[in-house]
Symmetry: C2
Subunit: 433 residues, 2 copies
């Protein structure tokens, strides 16, 4: 008797060598970004904001885009390809006829899928001759990922981190510094925009908008530096498709194919990275797949309006056509911090607009979501990031609906990160001492 197939590992040879660009396969052309009616042109600034290769990818028309061999090497160094697991023990405990599969982005060196684009952007930045990258971070996952990417390719990294989070996420801050990053609470005294606020209030809690402005100003004033964004944009989702492309090969080896593809969705890079290759099958090969984005009620951006809006609070970016709650909406704090974003990436938004995406928003107390995460931890053993718990919750809820209906659906979820640095959040919500 052999062991049951519960995990598929791909070999290094099987690492995807191309990303999937969904732009040519979308139901209609993606509305390009626009300038707002007033103020300076944001579009003209794009070449100064984005790495050259990323800007090219942002509007690329080719369905497949080569991953440079040097970057493939970095993906291998990050532990890609990552396993796809069948959640056999969870299925058994749920007594569901459904089959649940989960992709192990939690094996990321920094804790989340963000490394997939961080490595790509750091790689291209170095190729373009930059010596330093700047960015902002809110929850901290993106800042850590870029610190890591820069460390591996030998670039300096400057992170402007929303002070309200910077000040209490002690371990994540130290982690970024172990990678050699310069980490500043934002607003900081280092930039003009920061200094103005900082000089008035040294404990100013900051915001993502202010941190973005600081990162942009810092990079703008240094010809050897470039700025980097970790979600929303097309090229970021493109880089993340390595997740879904691996998963497709793994499903083939399992001899199965998902009926339901789900994961959490904040700005869209995790969901997109996992789902877009399966969308490709649905759009071009007629595969029947249900796509479901798991969100929080504090930021159900896919239930917002489909219109042009800024990607940032400070109105520095061009307008993007997307589902949005409004770029200055207030959002209550939750442990799944990475889901607190006002808009959904243009690609995901277009798919939603064409009714190719369902969405669920879980209550702000996170109790249901974290209890589901607890069930997952006890049956499968891996501790997910709070954000990832949303996708897991949906997968379990759906598997329990299958138990009622008797349907033997195949459910695929991407566990976008691990929760080792988020145990206090789980403990608080679940009442663990």
């Amino acid at each position: 008797m052999a062991a049951k197939p519960v995990m598929i590992n791909l070999t290094a040879d099987e690492l995807p060598t191309r990303w999937y660009n969904i732009l040519p396969d979308l139901p209609e052309p993606l509305p390009p970004p626009q300038d707002p009616p007033e103020g300076p042109s944001r579009l003209e600034q794009l070449p100064n904001l984005l790495i050259g290769e990323c800007l090219k990818q942002e509007f690329a028309e080719d369905r497949w885009i080569d991953i440079p061999p040097g970057l493939q090497e970095l993906y291998l160094k990050a532990g890609r390809p990552r396993p796809l697991f069948r959640a056999t023990e969870l299925e058994k405990r749920l007594e569901t006829p459904a089959r649940i599969y989960y992709k192990a982005e939690f094996f990321s060196p920094t804790g989340s899928h963000k490394v997939n684009t961080a490595l790509a952007q750091a790689y291209y930045a170095r190729e373009q001759g930059f010596e330093r990258m700047t960015t902002e971070t809110g929850a901290g996952q993106w800042g850590t990922a870029l610190a890591y990417g820069c460390a591996l390719v030998g670039l300096k990294c400057t992170v402007f981190w929303v002070r309200a989070v910077h000040d209490w996420k002690t371990d994540r801050r130290r982690f970024m510094k172990m990678y050699g990053a310069d980490v500043h609470a934002s607003p900081s005294p280092l930039t003009k925009v920061g200094k103005e606020l900082y000089s008035k209030n040294k404990k100013h809690p900051g915001s993502l908008g202010i941190a973005i402005s600081e990162g942009l100003e810092d990079a703008g004033g240094d010809p050897n530096a470039t700025y980097s964004l970790g979600s929303v944009l097309n090229h970021v989702l493109l880089h993340q498709t390595v997740i879904g492309l691996e998963a497709q090969k793994q499903f083939e080896k399992f001899g199965d194919y998902p009926d339901v593809v789900t994961s959490c969705l904040g700005g869209g890079s995790n969901f997109g990275g996992f789902a877009l290759p399966f969308y490709g099958d649905a759009l071009t090969k007629g595969k029947k797949v249900q796509f479901v984005a798991a969100q929080s009620e504090v930021a159900p951006n896919l239930q917002g309006e489909y219109r042009f809006d800024f990607a940032d609070y400070a109105e520095i970016t061009p307008l993007l056509k997307m589902y949005t709650l409004g770029h200055r909406v207030e959002m209550a704090p939750i442990k799944g911090d990475g889901l607190r974003y006002h808009g959904s990436s243009p690609i995901i938004s277009l798919l939603r607009h064409h009714e190719k995406l369902d969405t669920v928003a879980y209550p702000a107390d996170e109790k249901h979501v974290f209890e589901r995460a607890g069930e997952f931890v006890r049956a499968e053993g891996f501790i997910p990031a709070p954000e990832s718990a949303y996708g897991i919750a949906y997968a379990i809820d759906e598997a329990l609906r299958c138990k009622e209906s008797g349907e033997a659906k195949c459910i695929a979820v991407n566990v976008s990160g691990h929760g080792f640095l988020d145990i206090p959040g789980f403990a608080e919500v679940l009442g663990i001492k």
Copy 2:
């Protein structure tokens, strides 16, 4: 141009299906455990202390021992096989002609290699009809691993945790509880031995010896419970050989073979698990390999005396022939807590006795070791456990000696765990705020 080979993943099919038992290949028969001249017989108690299958394995004469298919499945669920990486970026930065490879036990669900024996023991305990397992833990890695193992196979788990550590390792404690384990600060009021101490001092700091006694008493009083040990014993090292067996296959695919095999050594389960299969090659196939155990100056047990000694402070175990500092030696606290053990497992000790093992002990301030870990983090991106940092430090030190001598050695190190829950320790020693 293809990506350079920097990582070898094995597929699920390539998971080892047998463990390597070194007992028949040792230079002389392993001295069996003995009873002390006075007091009750410990040997007669062994069948009540150890799981039946583990006791059998403890004295097994077969070179290869089958891993049951159901347990193979659990290994797959834990993400085995794990990658072997070539540290190309680290080599480049060190400007060394040496080749450095590291095994990724840091992808463990709970944070260390301990899961390899925790799953095996939980599996066998369930097969034997037990409903609950008890154990002690010091640093906490073993307690987490057993909590995990029990959760996956559906057993209850009771952990007696040295109070001095239990009280401050808040996140690791909550982590164990997320797996559903009952976690008690030891001495606890739950056992006779604990109650006696606890009733006199509710803040008694405890010791590993007391915690062992509590675990044994608790299991002894419940016919449905069994006790479990996470290091030192032959069967524990046997279970851990899955690490080295995978690594051997991976080296074959890399087309390379280690000249130096190193890793940290506390009780010996990590070092043994990685090194024993390579010892097998050295002992039976004449392979020339240097083996080096990386230890702390606070517990350089391999520099102790080779004699019979108790495995525990409380003198509950039989006497084992091993290198020991004395079972009641005082050891200063260090961040690499898991290295603080007075003796080295009998198998490792015998190899040392036959001069088949070199040893290095790093200073108690851990500065050198953690600085080396920092170099590893920045070049390779993975944050090691404090214990694992010792092996990494030796690998780097050796690679730098190669730089001096011009030798192009192949150095293999097992990174036995990750450091996500140990960032405060690194930060303190490295002065990161």
